[in-house]
Symmetry: C2
Subunit: 189 residues, 2 copies
């Protein structure tokens, strides 16, 4: 394991605080106290509070974007693609559950270019997802329920994984993936 730089330590501590109270409610003094130093000392390592938020969110959004691009390019069928999307969300959630809270709840506090960049990535992601579902319906690979409802219900479950996963003790990632696929794709009734 590569030792964390001081900057990475600060960003990880910030991720946890942002998850608990939200970006706006966390002060630089809160963050400093969590690190065991004074607020001014943070600025030896980071440029601004905003930079911390942007780092957390943009890095994660790019992981999703890159993962989705790979899946879109692949020549698998619809079910396989959906399974890969579920995998992607589980992998990202396992690697940084804290940061996902900021991505989901504090993206609107990004400034300027980063806000636009994020919104573009999110929109593209949803459109790729929707296209996969659409194609699956037209090929009769999945049931022809209202497409928007399929997209919404699946995506909202995957996006909320970060809230739920940490509460499940020692659930194996592979088992989680398998059961997730079952519930989301095969229904419960």
């Amino acid at each position: 394991m590569r030792p964390e730089s001081r900057k990475e330590e600060i960003i990880n501590a910030a991720s946890i605080l942002f998850k608990e109270k939200g970006y706006s409610a966390v002060t630089m003094r809160d963050l400093a106290k969590a690190m065991g130093i004074k607020a001014a000392s943070l600025y030896n390592h980071i440029q601004s509070k905003q930079e911390i938020l942007a780092t957390i969110i943009i890095d994660l959004a790019e992981k999703f974007t890159n993962g989705m691009d790979r899946i879109v390019k692949s020549d698998e069928n619809t079910i396989q693609k959906l399974e890969n999307i579920i995998d992607l969300h589980i992998d990202v959630t396992l690697s940084n559950a804290d940061g996902l809270a900021s991505l989901n709840n504090d993206w609107m506090h990004l400034e300027e270019e980063n806000l636009q960049y994020f919104e573009k990535m999110r929109q593209d992601y949803e459109e790729n997802f929707r296209d996969i579902v659409k194609r699956g319906v037209s090929r009769k690979e999945i049931n022809s329920f209202n497409i928007e409802i399929i997209v919404f219900s699946t995506l909202s479950t995957l996006r909320t994984l970060y809230l739920w996963y940490p509460k499940q003790r020692n659930i194996d990632a592979e088992i989680l993936k398998h059961d997730m696929v079952s519930v989301l794709l095969k229904g419960i009734a």
Copy 2:
């Protein structure tokens, strides 16, 4: 339609602002500007910023609690109960989509008794939900996937409805209920 009291107008305006930026990022001056008055004037109608948040969240949480209590007491089967829960979420979402943003994202900024009261209601709600699913599995009314995953995926979809519903133009509530039941209970693949 009963005319809104000034206090209700303020709370509705606050719900919209809280949805857009979160409780902590909305200042009393922001809220006043949205109302077309000065910040100090708000205090002729409300006691504090905190009172606004508590009113929004507690009222909604009680709607869910009361609805769930009715469903639990009923002698319908598991599928019917789940359908009624979906109905409940859709009804509450239609009646106050803005306020649901605060309930979902800003509940941790409630103070003291209200925070405890809210957390108790949320916990009871989830336990009632889980018990219904458990009973459904043991009676073989629904598939025996991992119960926690069923609870989580269904609940996260229903809880996120408030984000998605306003973007769907003129979708009929009855159609929404029907399709929602199909997707959540019968699966998509």
